[in-house]
C-alpha cells in the first residue's frame, strides 16, 4: 500500500487537467498504481475567496482511505472551528507570511488539536508561471522560523525543490514531500536526509503519478527506507 500525501481534486486554472470534476477517476487511477491512501487538497483553494465552498467540495470528493486537507488562512476565522486531520496553508497565494503573528496564532491552535499543517511551497515550476500569476514560492527561511516557533506542530512541506528538503534535517517536526524533487541520483540525495521525515507524494493529477513511483522504485533504495517513505512515516504522522 502506498500513501500519497500530494493529490488534489478540482481545476488548476492554467492546465487542461485529467480527472477534473471526476474524483472517482482520480482515485481509480491512483488505486491502479497501488496508491490506496493519502491526503487530498483542492486545486481551487489558492484562487477562490470562498474557502467554505472549496472545503465542502473537497469533503464531498474524498473517498475512504484519503484525508482531506482543508484550506485555511489566518484572516478567515473558519480555522477556529474546523474539524480536520490535515489542513493546507498557501502563504504565497493567500498573501501572508508564515511568521506573521496571526499565522502563528492559527497554526498553534491547529497544532494543539493534532491537525497536520501542510505548507504548499509552490504548485508549479516558477519558470512556467502564467505571466499574470507569478506567485513566488514560500521562502525557506520563513519555514525554518515557523518550525522553530511551533516545535510541537507536525508540518509537511509539499512540492519541495532543490535544497528545501534539507529543512527536515534541522527540524524533527518537519516532513518533506518529493513530487517536485528530481535529483539524478536519488539514493545519494536521500542519504543525508532523515528517512523518518520523508513522505511519498505524486502531485497527481498535475504530474504523472508514475514519475514519483519510478523515481523511488528505480533508485535502489534500502527496502526499509522505501517502506517508510511509501507509507510507514505517514501512518505515524496522520494517526
Amino acid at each position: 500500500m502506498i500513501f500519497d500525501v500530494n493529490t488534489a481534486v478540482g481545476v488548476w486554472p492554467f492546465r487542461n487537467l485529467r480527472f477534473a470534476g471526476n474524483p472517482k477517476a482520480l482515485y481509480d487511477h491512483l488505486a491502479k498504481r497501488g496508491i490506496t491512501g493519502g491526503v487530498t487538497r483542492h486545486y481551487g483553494a489558492p484562487f477562490c475567496h470562498d474557502l467554505d465552498f472549496i472545503n465542502a467540495e473537497l469533503a464531498k470528493a474524498v473517498i475512504p482511505g484519503f484525508i482531506p486537507a482543508f484550506a485555511v488562512r489566518p484572516d478567515y476565522k473558519q480555522w477556529k472551528t474546523i474539524q480536520a486531520k490535515a489542513v493546507a496553508l498557501y502563504p504565497s497565494f493567500h498573501n501572508y507570511k508564515l511568521t506573521d503573528p496571526e499565522t502563528l496564532e492559527m497554526a498553534k491552535d491547529l497544532a494543539s488539536r493534532n491537525i497536520v499543517l501542510h505548507i504548499i511551497m509552490r504548485e508549479e515550476d516558477e519558470r512556467s508561471h502564467h505571466l499574470r500569476a507569478m506567485v513566488p514560492s514560500v521562502p525557506a527561511a520563513d519555514v525554518e522560523a515557523f518550525a522553530d516557533a511551533l516545535p510541537e506542530a507536525k508540518i509537511v512541506l509539499l512540492n519541495c525543490m532543490g535544497g528545501e528538503l534539507s529543512i527536515t534535517c534541522r527540524h524533527k517536526n518537519v516532513y518533506g514531500e518529493m513530487a517536485s524533487f528530481e535529483p539524478f541520483d536519488v539514493k545519494e540525495a536521500l542519504a543525508n536526509l532523515p528517512g523518518d521525515q520523508l513522505l511519498f507524494g505524486s502531485h497527481t493529477p498535475l504530474y504523472y503519478t508514475t514519475a514519483a513511483l519510478w523515481k523511488l522504485e528505480r533508485a535502489e533504495l534500502d527496502a526499509d527506507l522505501l517502506a517508510k517513505i511509501h507509507s510507514g512515516n505517514a501512518a505515524k504522522l496522520y494517526c
Binding site: E182, F184, D185, Y207, T210, A212, K215
Partner: protein, 247 residues
C-alpha cells in the same frame, strides 16, 4: 528500444554514472550533448574545443552506446564555428550541433552554423524555454526557434524541453515541419505530450531526459503514463531519433 537524445557528460559527475544509469533504466543508446554549462553560457573558443574533446573521448570510450553532438558558442567567428564543426562531426558517431544560451538563435551569427549543418545534412538541437522568470540574456524561446527554422527549412532542428516550451511553444513551431521537440526536462507535468501529439504528430517528438540535470526514471515515466498509442510511444522513444540522426 529506447534512445535518449538529450543527456550531458558533465565533468564534475563523470560520464560513467550517466551511462550506467541509462542502462539500468533500459535505455539502449544515449546522445551526449557535452558539458555545456562548465564555463557558463559564454565559453571561449579554447573552452569549446576542450568541451568537444571530452565528448569525443566519451563517445570513443562508450563506442556503440554513446552518440555525440558538437557544442558551439555562436558568438565566435564563423570561421571558427565551421572549422570546429568539421573537426568534431568528422568523428565516428557524431550527429549534430548542440546550442545552449550563448546567443539568441535569431541573430545572423547563426548562419555559418546553419549553412554547414545544411551542407553536411546534420541536425541542430537547441535549448529552448518559455520562461516567466529567470530567463538568460540570450536564451532562445520557441518563437526564436520558429524564426530560425523558417530561415533554414532544410535543416532539422530539435527544440529542447517540451514542458518548458509548453502549449504555446508547440503552437509556435507547429507550422515548421523541420522542427521536432524533445521531451526532456521540466517537472513531469501531465498533458503536454498528449497535446503535442495531437497538434504536431508523434513523428515530430523525440524522447530525451536531460540527465544528469534530471533523472531517467521519472523522465521515462512521462512516456509510460501518457495516454498515447503504443505506435506513437515507439516513434517517440527511438524511431524518430533513429530517423533524424540517420543511425
Amino acid at each position: 528500444m529506447i534512445i535518449d537524445i538529450h543527456t550531458h557528460n558533465f565533468e564534475r559527475q563523470g560520464t560513467a554514472p550517466i551511462v550506467e544509469g541509462a542502462k539500468r533504466n533500459g535505455i539502449d543508446r544515449i546522445v551526449l550533448l557535452g558539458d555545456v554549462l562548465r564555463h557558463g553560457y559564454y565559453p571561449t573558443p579554447e573552452q569549446i574545443v576542450k568541451i568537444n574533446d571530452d565528448t569525443i573521448a566519451d563517445v570513443e570510450k562508450y563506442d556503440g552506446f554513446c552518440l555525440g553532438f558538437c557544442h558551439l558558442n555562436p558568438s565566435h567567428t564563423g570561421e571558427f564555428q565551421v572549422q570546429e564543426m568539421r573537426r568534431v562531426l568528422s568523428k565516428k558517431n557524431f550527429c549534430g550541433v548542440k546550442l545552449e544560451c550563448s546567443w539568441n538563435c535569431r541573430k545572423p551569427e547563426m548562419d555559418p552554423i546553419m549553412e554547414e549543418l545544411e551542407k553536411q545534412d546534420r541536425i541542430l538541437l537547441h535549448h529552448c524555454w518559455y520562461k516567466t522568470t529567470g530567463k538568460c540574456d540570450e536564451e532562445s524561446d520557441p518563437s526564436d526557434i520558429a524564426y530560425l527554422a523558417r530561415r533554414w527549412p532544410n535543416v532539422t532542428i530539435v527544440m529542447a524541453h517540451l514542458i518548458g516550451c509548453g502549449i504555446r511553444g508547440v503552437e509556435m513551431i507547429a507550422d515548421c515541419p523541420n522542427v521536432l521537440v524533445d521531451t526532456s526536462g521540466g517537472q513531469p507535468e501531465a498533458g503536454f505530450l498528449e497535446y503535442a501529439i495531437r497538434r504536431i504528430g508523434a513523428e515530430r517528438i523525440v524522447y530525451g531526459s536531460d540527465a544528469p540535470c534530471r533523472d531517467y526514471a521519472p523522465q521515462l515515466a512521462k512516456l509510460e503514463e501518457a495516454e498515447i498509442s503504443d505506435a506513437d510511444r515507439e516513434l517517440i522513444l527511438w524511431k524518430n531519433t533513429e530517423r533524424i540522426l540517420k543511425i
